[in-house]
Symmetry: C2
Subunit: 202 residues, 2 copies
DNA sequence: AATTGACAATCTGGGTCCATCTTGTCAAAT
DNA sequence: ATTTGACAAGATGGACCCAGATTGTCAATT
């Protein structure tokens, strides 16, 4: 069964690896790639530096795995939020954007400006765009299924356009908001405005 | 009549000064503050360096005047667009945001990241926020007058909240869009979605 | 499996020196 | 008014060196 699952690094290691990647993500987000040392990550994860090398051969491999893990993790929880049919549409959208964007608001330090640069250097730029596209498709799918797009029919706007607009709003809020709470508040307002045509009555 | 118009530097010089400031803005936007020399600005404006010093005593004074002029100019044209009653609401909003934000999309170079830093260093941060607030108030005013806020009554959203949402969208589009045209397109979609409750029928 | 201690090779940041660029000012010329 | 030419003081950037940090690997230990 499925010996070539297209995932290059998917031998389901342990939960330890996942924990290391979570810790590494936080450190990388605060200090960027250059100013983060393996020792720093190891200490933050309560592991020896060599223990870290036991899982990741080089710093770049750690970084790559960290980003990959973060994107998969964010997309997974975002998708879960978006597809939670037990919640009202607005709440699902807010949770989706919070998981995809809001989760990182206020976590990036001033030294972390090299992350995107290094990211594209390592060829992760395409992967990032792929995940971004997946998230956007998930949002668009929800908008279509909810009947929102139908409600906007008179405007001629597509699900994709509504998604892009909401996505741009989230990106703007990411820069404007100082805290995750402020972001959630802002995206909540945007979502409420967008969903208004479905009938905001209680 | 009004001998103290609160404007600190408003002796209505000539159009020459205004032209110099427009040129200076373009250079500053491309190369930032540090990497822009007085000679560079002078040459770009087809003036001698000393001719520039004849209008602005120091580089910092030039920078300060440039930003002040840009903010005033942007706010003026944004306000004109917003209050042009000969245009439909959507077009007015698009023109307003294009004048305030879109005008600068794609113009800022990689070396220009020190602009905001220097800006706040010189105490222009407060002034910038003041202009930002004025623009937002102008937008909110238009939204209220158009009846859009009333149309959103069932959601409980205020004019301020709708304005903030649109503003966040514009900020996001500023980072996402590579060109001014793409920005206008994006903000156009956002505005259309927002104005939908007023009846998008043709 | 993970840890400690240790190691050479390499990278980084600070410091100095020095040539060049830039600023701000001046006088003379148009 | 604006320009050209010139100037000293100061800022900037590149070259270079060096101490210390960091990386990646090893062996011995638990």
């Amino acid at each position: 069964m499925g010996t070539e699952l297209k995932s290059p690094e998917k031998p389901p290691d342990d939960a330890r690896r996942s924990r290391l990647l979570d810790v590494a993500l936080n450190v990388f987000l605060r200090y960027g790639f250059r100013k983060t040392s393996m020792d720093q990550v190891a200490r933050a994860a309560d592991v020896s530096r060599q223990g870290l090398y036991l899982h990741f051969a080089t710093k770049e491999e750690l970084f790559q795995a960290t980003l990959q893990h973060a994107m998969e993790s964010s997309l997974r929880s975002a998708s879960e939020g978006l597809s939670d049919v037990s919640l009202p549409l607005e709440e699902r959208l807010v949770r989706g954007f919070d998981a995809w964007v809001g989760r990182y608001v206020g976590m990036v330090g001033a030294d972390a400006k090299d992350l995107t640069e290094v990211l594209s250097t390592m060829g992760l730029g395409e992967e990032a765009m792929r995940f971004e596209a997946l998230f956007q498709e998930a949002v668009a799918k929800v908008l279509r299924a909810s009947g929102l797009v139908a409600a906007y029919k008179s405007t001629g706007l597509t699900a994709r356009q509504l998604t892009d607009t909401l996505y741009a709003t989230a990106r703007g809020l990411k820069y404007i908001s100082g805290t995750r709470e402020a972001f959630v508040q802002g995206i909540g307002v945007a979502v409420r405005a967008l969903c208004m045509p479905l009938g905001a009555s209680r």
